[in-house]
């Protein structure tokens, strides 16, 4: 994929994440901050389908943005065909693992498998 397209994805995921994380944080402030973090309150949040979808979107957007950012930093430090391939595939693998792990939490909590 062309680097210009990768950077457009990088900026798109950033802007999307900013909007969605703002909603995520505002949800904490709709009630008392400490109360909003109690076990029952958090489980209730996860079991709202709309909120679960919001969390999943945030998970995907930040994972893509974060691991691409890490890739960019690592490629600035050193270059080379093998190194660049290793960094790219390593970052993709890290991203996939993180999304899979976070999705597992969202799905299991949303479906009451706790």
């Amino acid at each position: 994929m062309r680097e210009s397209i990768v950077m457009k994805i990088h900026y798109g995921t950033a802007l999307g994440a900013v909007a969605l994380v703002a909603i995520h944080i505002l949800m904490r402030l709709t009630v008392d901050f400490h109360e909003s973090l109690t076990y029952d309150a958090v489980v209730a949040n996860y079991q709202m389908l709309g909120y679960a979808l919001l969390l999943e979107l945030i998970l995907i957007l930040i994972s893509v943005h974060g691991f691409n950012g890490l890739r960019v930093i690592l490629l600035e430090l050193r270059q080379g065909s093998g190194y660049e391939k290793g960094v790219t595939y390593g970052c993709i693998a890290g991203m996939v693992v993180l999304i899979a792990y976070g999705t597992r939490t969202i799905i299991m909590t949303n479906m009451g498998m706790i």
């Binding site: 950077m7 900026y11 950033a14 802007l15 900013v18 994380v21 402030l29 901050f33 400490h34 973090l37 076990y39 958090v42 489980v43 996860y46 998970l59 930040i62 994972s63 974060g66 691991f67 950012g69 890490l70 930093i73 430090l77 993180l98 792990y101 976070g102 597992r104 939490t105 299991m108 909590t109 498998m113 706790i114």
Partner: protein, 143 residues
């Protein structure tokens, strides 16, 4: 004189004193980015404890409900806000806004893109991050 005597390498690139606030912003952007990625991974792990029941969730939550935990979260807020505000500046810059028009390259060759608009945005990003940290402290410590 050896070939490498005048080459500073990574140190030359990293030196924040040479290129002013723009180089400081460059480093802050990368440091906050790495910090936020580390926090995000830890946050995904932290929230997964909800699957282990209320006691595991409360035990994990207690770690963040300490003075040290609140200070750590305040730093996360600061990193997040700076990274966002400076990132928006970079998106505009990469799209060609606010970088100035090309000019004749006269000595000492000042870069048109390193202008007051950019510097003001960097200082504003740092200021907004400081305000957000102050608000975070007020909420978490109940000040």
């Amino acid at each position: 004189m050896g070939d490498n005597d005048n080459k500073e390498g990574f140190k030359g690139m990293a030196n924040p004193g040479r290129y002013g606030i723009e180089r400081v912003a460059y480093w802050l952007m990368r440091i906050t980015g790495l910090g936020l990625l580390a926090y995000f991974i830890a946050h995904i792990y932290e929230t997964s404890t909800i699957l282990d029941g209320p006691s595991a969730w409360n035990a994990m939550l207690e770690m963040t409900q300490t003075t040290e935990g609140h200070i750590f979260l305040t730093l996360v807020i600061g990193m997040c806000v700076f990274h966002t505000a400076n990132g928006i500046r970079l998106v505009f810059g990469h799209a060609g806004y606010g970088v100035g028009k090309p000019g004749r390259p006269d000595y000492p060759y000042p870069a048109k893109s390193l202008n007051m608009k950019g510097k003001a945005c960097i200082y504003a990003s740092i200021g907004i991050a400081a305000l957000a940290m102050w608000y975070g402290i007020a909420v978490m410590f109940g000040v």
